[in-house]
């Protein structure tokens, strides 16, 4: 942690993420009730009325409240999708790597199949078939993001499975599935987790893009849908698109920088040891 603090990118990234997390956690306390509630005159510009600091949208909803509640959706979707993708990917990768042979072949061809479809297209198709809701969006994003972790996990497992402690586990008669999940997987996890920042960042972007196209959950504020809504009045009230746009850029930047920092931090530690 102390090493992490000496890397400026990590510091900036973690700072942004901390602010975001605070926004998401404080949303309900600072802006209780429905963020969609109509609070004032429509299309009020920012910094005019200090009870509505970022102005209002076309229906007169508080942009600041929407921004805070949107942070919650974006982070929740990003983290949930990344967690699901890594969990599924790690398990599939471990099984493929550990079992080898036909199971490996089958699972890896499946991974190939998913990888050849552009991830956004897959999410788009899935949501438009099943219908938009928060869970569906999370599943859709995870569906297109699990292949990376699966490949990394498999590669890691291939090198781990020949080690002595695995042979030891075999000798004491552990079930192969138990060895794979309890002995091999935890050891293969570190490089997989390093992928998480990329996945979280792309999940947040995919969620925003889906909402922008009107395929997000309409009952939750998301930055993507705020931008989409603002697009119709882009020439007369550009702040409606710019404010959530900036939030989105900062979030993705924060996640990315923090991820970079962590990777760099661990690299430094490795080279020191």
């Amino acid at each position: 942690m102390r090493r992490l603090a000496s890397i400026p990118e990590a510091l900036v990234g973690l700072g942004i993420l901390a602010i975001l997390a605070a926004m998401a956690l404080a949303a309900s306390a600072l802006f209780p009730g429905d963020p969609f509630a109509i609070k004032g005159a429509p299309l009020l510009s920012p910094f005019q009325d200090w009870s509505l600091p970022l102005g209002t949208d076309r229906l007169g909803r508080d942009v600041m409240a929407e921004l805070f509640h949107g942070a919650r959706t974006s982070l929740a979707v990003g983290l949930a999708a990344a967690a699901a993708a890594i969990a599924v990917g790690a398990v599939i990768g471990t099984l493929a790597g550990f079992a080898g042979g036909i199971v490996d072949e089958a699972l890896m061809r499946l991974t190939d199949a998913f990888q050849t479809v552009p991830s956004f297209l897959l999410a788009l198709a899935f949501v438009s078939v099943v219908g938009p809701s928060l869970t569906v969006v999370v599943i859709a994003i995870a569906l297109s993001a699990w292949t990376g972790p699966a490949r990394v996990a498999r590669a890691e497992v291939l090198s781990i499975r020949e080690r002595d402690f695995v042979a030891g586990a075999r000798v004491i008669g552990m079930h192969p599935l138990e060895i794979a999940l309890r002995e091999v997987l935890p050891n293969a996890l570190a490089p997989v987790l390093a992928l998480s920042s990329v996945i979280v960042a792309s999940a947040i972007l995919i969620e925003a893009a889906l909402s922008f196209l009107g395929l997000g959950d309409p009952n939750r504020v998301t930055w993507g849908s705020m931008i989409a809504e603002g697009r119709t009045v882009l020439r007369s009230a550009p702040f409606l698109s710019i404010v959530p746009g900036i939030a989105l850029v900062l979030t993705v930047l924060g996640v990315y920088l923090a991820g970079e920092g962590v990777v760099e931090g661990t690299a430094v530690r490795k080279s020191l040891s």
Binding site: D34, F36, A37, R58, G60, G131, N219, T232, R235
Partner: protein, 536 residues
Amino acid sequence: MSDFSLNRRSVLSGAVLLLASTALPTIGWAQEPQKGGRLTVAADSEPRNLNPAIVASNGVFFISSKIVEPLAEADYEGKDGLSPRLAVSWEGSEDGKSVTFKLREGVTWHDGKPFTSADVAFSALQIWKPLQNLGRVVFKDLEAVETPDEHTAVFKFAKPTPFQLIRNALPALTSVVPKHIYENGKIEENQANTAPIGTGPFKFAEHKAGQYYRLEKNTAYWGKSKPNLDEIVYQVLPDRSAAANALEAEEIQLAAFSAVPLADLDRISKVPGLKVVTKGYEGLTYQLVVEINHRRKELADVKVRQAIAHAINKEFVVKTIFLGYAETASGPVPKNDKQFYSADVPNYAFDIAKANALLDEAGYKPGADGKRFKLKLLPAPYFNETKQFGDYLRQALAAIGIDAELVNNDSAAHIKAVYTDHAFDLAVGPPVFRGDPAISTTILAQSGIPDGVPFSNQGGYKNADIDAIIAKAAETLDASARTDLYKEFQKKVVEDLPFINVADWTFISVASDKVGNIADNPRWAVSNWSDTWLAK
């Protein structure tokens, strides 16, 4: 003192003169139609089937009404609001079982063949009645079309059919297509559906998918020295913000059907050389309607429906969502309809307290979380405004303790969910009022409509009184008695609220100052544009 007032008066009158003198040149300039030129227009959708006799919808009319003409067109001044096109006169019989049309002489199709009563008979019996989305209702009892001579067509009905209804249906439902082109093979698969042949002022020239449609002047048009334009090009611009930019860049001269978003109108009206025109759509009024699924036990209670009506602030909807380009609705007939509109209906003023009281009375007390019950709300995706109204309605319902969950679908899924699967509690729909309640309004309240008919009563609503009025009006021949029945219909509908009318809106055109004679009839955007002209 008197000197001073005299001076002031003379100064004022001088100022008036000065104003008048600057106004004069513009008036003089606007009156002289010029010949020739190409009018480029924004098209936001790209219909494949351009046959208006089969698909009577505004998206198709927008292009094909210049090529294929109806028997009569809507008119601001004409008798019964009509002006003649392919028919020069029309008359209904006493018993309501026949209508005689005298047809225009000396009209030829774009391929040179003469237009005769056989074409009208063929279009009516083979296309309008069996194939057309709206004609199926209006011409359901049409039995035969007699053609005593080449320029007379007599429509024979099996049951008395009100002449008023036939008359009101003429502009939208009676596009005449050539018999000699359609008589062989399947009508739905005829090539002329994508490259129409008609009698109109413009001929179909070409369609480049994803780019444009081009129409050329018909030099053999029956209208004297018409049309004024040489060419009309429909530039396909599906993105709504693109239309405004194209107008400003002078790539197009006209964007009809509100192709320019309402929120942009204020800005664009200040751009020199462009004008915002709100006239010319009175005959195409869209209605913002809350559709209700009466299968839900809460919504089957009229008190709950009335509470919802009281919870909607119609003025807010008009002002904020439509930015003033709409009118609040009092019932199922829009206020701009001169024939049928009745103001004698109950009024549901915006009143949250009353709405809450009605819900309490109905027995739906709020729970510990302040919520009475949950609903699924499906806003139609066709217009920005229907989607925004969905967002607004959710908040309006939240204010009276009804928790509405929004469900967004694309067009196809929305039609299926609401009109076939009935998987909704409330839906926001934009039905069209087409000049006569019998054409597309009564089906919103009538019972016994088969599943899957879009923009009809699919909420399971059944009211014997309303059904009886609709049935009676369908066979009432006297125009004023029929009108009275529809006034009664409006009253009953607003009392019992099978659906809730919120606002009525028409469209806005934005055009270059160079385009003349726009919006000169109530269906201008979907009329033939023969007198429209372009200044050089």
